[in-house]
């Protein structure tokens, strides 16, 4: 029966091969017979050697990891629009891989009995399937064929780190920027700026006859050798060096080295007598060669849509894993990763600004709060953020507020799309309470400091770790100054901050055993965030505020600064800094292992050595808590 849901399904499927080859009517009919499956993160779709189901699957939302041999080796990652579990159905054998939800996913299950007639009837579909699987028959797990199921153009970023680079097909840009031989140099430069490319292909009746790169413009026009209105024909580099589109990374690299060029033109059959299908730049080769911060930053700058950022985030996580594996110092790792994460956020903010119908009415600052503000956030966690904008006169108050709230909603949604969950307590800039003018913030903070109830202290905890992500630093400076003034005038506030800081639950029980969660999905796991990291963070904040130190929000750095300021407690502070980094590393590793925030640790998965290391940090935490409870004792303040 045709209905609203089948429409919805068809509307989605029509964008992906092989369903795009189906006649809309057939697609409708097919869509009426599918089932929609919801899978929790880590839920199994099918296991290795399991008898085949009567349907194959298309990922509608989320991601499915295909694994083999319990080795936890992810062979392939399917995301939106990808098909899996079809080959075993056609070959009539058991599943040879395990499919497991990498994140919360929605799948469409398509009965093979319904689909098969179309595959037999429709030649395009048949060809697509044959091409997908023929290459796979000998060794379905070889790296070369991994991407084949989805055509040549989709390149899974998770694989770019794989070891057999020389065999990997390279991803090239399919959006070729072209112009005719009679275009002037000036127009070409404009075109290149507009499209953000470094090379334009000159085509004559669809065939590539020359190429103009940044270098050509510099060497021929800017030098004054040719006037700016010279036509492309005269200054282009010719003939174009062409290659077939099926190139591996190594081949591309060799080709560029051989001819000493930075761009390759890819044509249908590899000669210049066929249509150009893509352009391959040195940058593309660099990207394929691996993840390094510079490449990722460049990729971010090139991202045009929020959707483009998500795969880059995945690669940042990969980079993080690599750093941890190589045992690079945590201080360095967290700096680089934070920098990259911030670059992602900044890009989302820039894109959101572009989406607004007008530029911001006044200067503003986008603040990262909580762990992000402390530059300690490395994994996908919740977003905590706020906006502070310049004071405006009463006339413009409403208007300005509305503008920034709308802008904040765009950013929050964008951040959600790239993998930062919404804050469960809605501490986000899109919440009207967290999107205020400078004076409103000053009043707000002053209120917290002068009326320190339990909530106010908690709010200050989150807010006082802010860090400027984007925008005007002067506004933030003024806010910081105002906070320090208020605190100085109200020393009693420290007492509340300290009692708040001492409230984190104890990590160990009476017999020095780990205290674990009693209920819920994390039953019997150790909460490393609340029981170990938070006490350190909270204490560092109180101490650093008492020294009126501005603009250090990272916990480890705060302890290092404290060691400098209080030489007699130097040893304790340094050990706090060390413990914090060790714990953070612990959490990060756990998070990467389970693709979550790493907050909860299954103790049985730890080695004896790791447990000892963990417990050692607890001793430091205890000493630190004693220090602050003595120092900020109410008796000392009043």
């Amino acid at each position: 029966m045709k209905n609203t849901i089948s429409h919805r399904v068809a509307d989605f499927l029509k964008n992906f091969p092989p369903f795009n080859f189906l006649h809309p009517k057939d697609l409708e009919k097919l869509s009426e017979q599918i089932s929609i499956l919801y899978k929790d993160k880590d839920a199994v779709v099918f296991t290795e050697n399991e008898k085949t189901h009567d349907s194959f699957y298309v990922v509608h939302k989320g991601a499915i990891a295909l694994k083999k041999n319990q080795k936890n080796d992810t062979l392939d990652m399917c995301d939106e629009g990808d098909i899996f579990g079809l080959r075993p159905l056609l070959a009539q054998e058991n599943y040879i891989m395990e499919a497991r939800a990498h994140e919360e996913s929605i799948l469409y299950a398509i009965p093979i009995a319904v689909f098969k007639p179309y595959a037999l009837e429709n030649r395009n579909i048949g060809n697509f399937l044959i091409e997908s699987y023929a290459s796979n028959t000998r060794n379905p797990y070889s790296d070369i064929h991994k991407d084949k199921l989805y055509g040549d153009d989709i390149h899974d970023p998770l694989q770019s780190n794989s070891h057999s680079l020389d065999l990997q097909p390279i991803k090239y840009s399919k959006k070729i920027v072209t112009c005719s031989p009679s275009t002037t140099a000036r127009d070409i430069a404009k075109l290149m700026t507009k499209k953000k490319v470094g090379a334009v292909l000159i085509v004559d009746e669809m065939l590539p006859i020359g190429i103009i790169t940044d270098k050509d413009l510099r060497n021929k026009i800017v030098t004054g050798d040719f006037p700016i209105l010279t036509t492309a024909e005269t200054i282009m580099t010719k003939p174009v060096i062409t290659y077939p589109k099926k190139m591996t990374v190594t081949e591309a690299q060799m080709a560029m080295m051989k001819s000493n060029i930075s761009y390759l033109c890819l044509t249908k059959d590899g000669t210049k007598n066929t249509k150009a299908v893509g352009i391959l730049s040195k940058h593309d080769v660099m990207v394929a060669l691996g993840n390094n911060p510079a490449v990722l930053i460049k990729a971010l700058k090139r991202a045009k849509k929020v959707k483009d950022i998500k795969p880059i985030r995945a690669r940042i996580m990969q980079l993080l894993q690599g750093y941890l594996d190589q045992n690079i110092p945590m201080t360095l790792i967290s700096k680089i990763i934070t920098e990259l994460n911030e670059a992602c956020t900044t890009r989302v903010i820039e894109m959101s600004l572009d989406k607004m119908s007008s530029p911001p009415p006044v200067k503003f600052a986008w603040l990262a709060l909580g762990s992000q503000g402390r530059s300690e956030q490395m994994l996908h966690t919740d977003q905590d953020n706020a906006i502070v904008y310049e004071n405006v006169t009463d006339v413009f108050r409403e208007e300005t507020k509305i503008y920034f709230q709308k802008f904040a909603s765009l950013v929050n949604k964008g951040l959600f799309e790239i993998g930062y969950d919404y804050c469960p307590a809605e501490m986000m800039a899109s919440n009207p309470k967290w999107c205020l003018s400078l004076n409103e913030w000053k009043e707000q903070v002053h209120y917290w400091i002068t009326n320190p109830g339990k909530n106010e202290v908690l709010l200050s905890f989150i807010f006082f770790d802010y860090n400027l992500t984007y925008g005007d630093s002067e506004i933030v400076n003024q806010l910081s100054d105002s906070i320090f003034e208020s605190i100085k005038a109200n020393p009693i506030f420290y007492v509340h901050l300290v009692s708040g800081a001492l409230q984190s639950p104890s990590p160990t029980g009476f017999f020095r055993q780990f205290l674990v969660e009693q209920d819920g999905a994390n039953k019997d796991n150790f909460d490393i965030k609340r029981r170990a990291l938070m006490p350190l963070t909270d204490a560092a904040r109180v101490l650093i505020l008492s020294h009126s130190v501005k603009s250090i929000s990272n916990t480890a750095e705060r302890f290092e600064k404290l060691a400098e300021l209080e030489p007699n407690n130097r040893e304790l502070y340094l050990s706090c800094s060390y413990s914090f980094k060790a714990l953070l590393k612990f959490r990060t590793k756990q998070g990467l292992l389970h693709n979550d925030s790493g907050q909860f640790i299954a103790l049985e998965s730890l080695s004896k050595m790791e447990k000892i290391k963990l417990k050692r940090t607890f001793k430091t935490i205890k000493e630190l808590q004693e220090l602050i409870s003595v120092r900020f004792n109410i008796a000392n303040v009043v």
Partner: protein, 208 residues
């Protein structure tokens, strides 16, 4: 033992061995001419079956009813025009089909009380038995997933749009009965997951 029965809480609806997954849920939504239980009429009923976290497209229910009462002002919302005809059964026929479809399943909707009351009023007019199925409301269940904190003000009412935004569900077919039922179903699945993350729960606890 009688002394203990004092402590015994209200009777559980289901055998404690029945899991949430294996339960047959019917997720439904209605489009109506308005919000008046007595004067307004149902224009469309959309419903789907949710079992083992699977929704079968084939096994879903979408019926536009023949009605004399029509209110122009709500047409803007649901987009159902009076003369918009695709095989439109009478109210009686539609309700009979619907009763067959629901069976003894657990009913889920967003603001369930409205849809169920609307349907029950129609059943009454047609001398059909009332719906007595156990019911769940995603508007109510969603509130259970929210953190309890003084820092965070809950709203009194969460609309289906709020849920779709929070859970990143496409609002493409908003305000068609079956489209809304689909959004409700996905929201329900995500709510159950959230509740499970907090605390192991069973079917009976969903009703408390």
């Amino acid at each position: 033992m009688s002394i203990f029965s004092f402590w015994k809480k209200e009777e559980d609806l289901f055998d404690e061995n029945i899991t949430i997954e294996e339960t047959r849920f019917v997720v439904l939504d209605t489009e109506t001419t308005g919000f008046d239980y007595d004067n307004d009429r149902i224009l469309c009923i959309g419903a789907l079956v949710l079992q083992n976290s699977v929704i079968s497209v084939q096994n879903s229910f979408e019926v536009y009813l023949q009605q004399d009462h029509y209110d122009k002002s709500t047409a803007q919302i649901h987009g159902i025009l009076k003369d918009f005809i695709i095989k439109r059964p009478s109210e009686l026929e539609a309700l009979q089909q619907f009763l067959d479809f629901v069976g003894d399943s657990v009913i889920i909707a967003h603001h369930t009380i409205f849809d169920v009351t609307m349907i029950n009023k129609a059943l009454e007019r047609n001398n059909l038995p009332q719906l007595t199925n156990p019911r769940l409301d995603t508007a109510h269940l969603y509130k259970k997933t929210l953190i309890k904190s003084h820092l965070f003000e809950r709203k009194d009412h969460y609309t289906l749009d709020d849920l779709a935004d929070k859970f990143d569900i496409s609002k493409k077919d908003r305000h068609t009965a079956l489209g809304d039922a689909y959004i409700t179903a996905i929201a329900f699945l995500k709510i159950v997951k959230k509740l499970k993350d907090k605390k192991e729960i069973n079917l009976n606890q969903l009703f408390k």
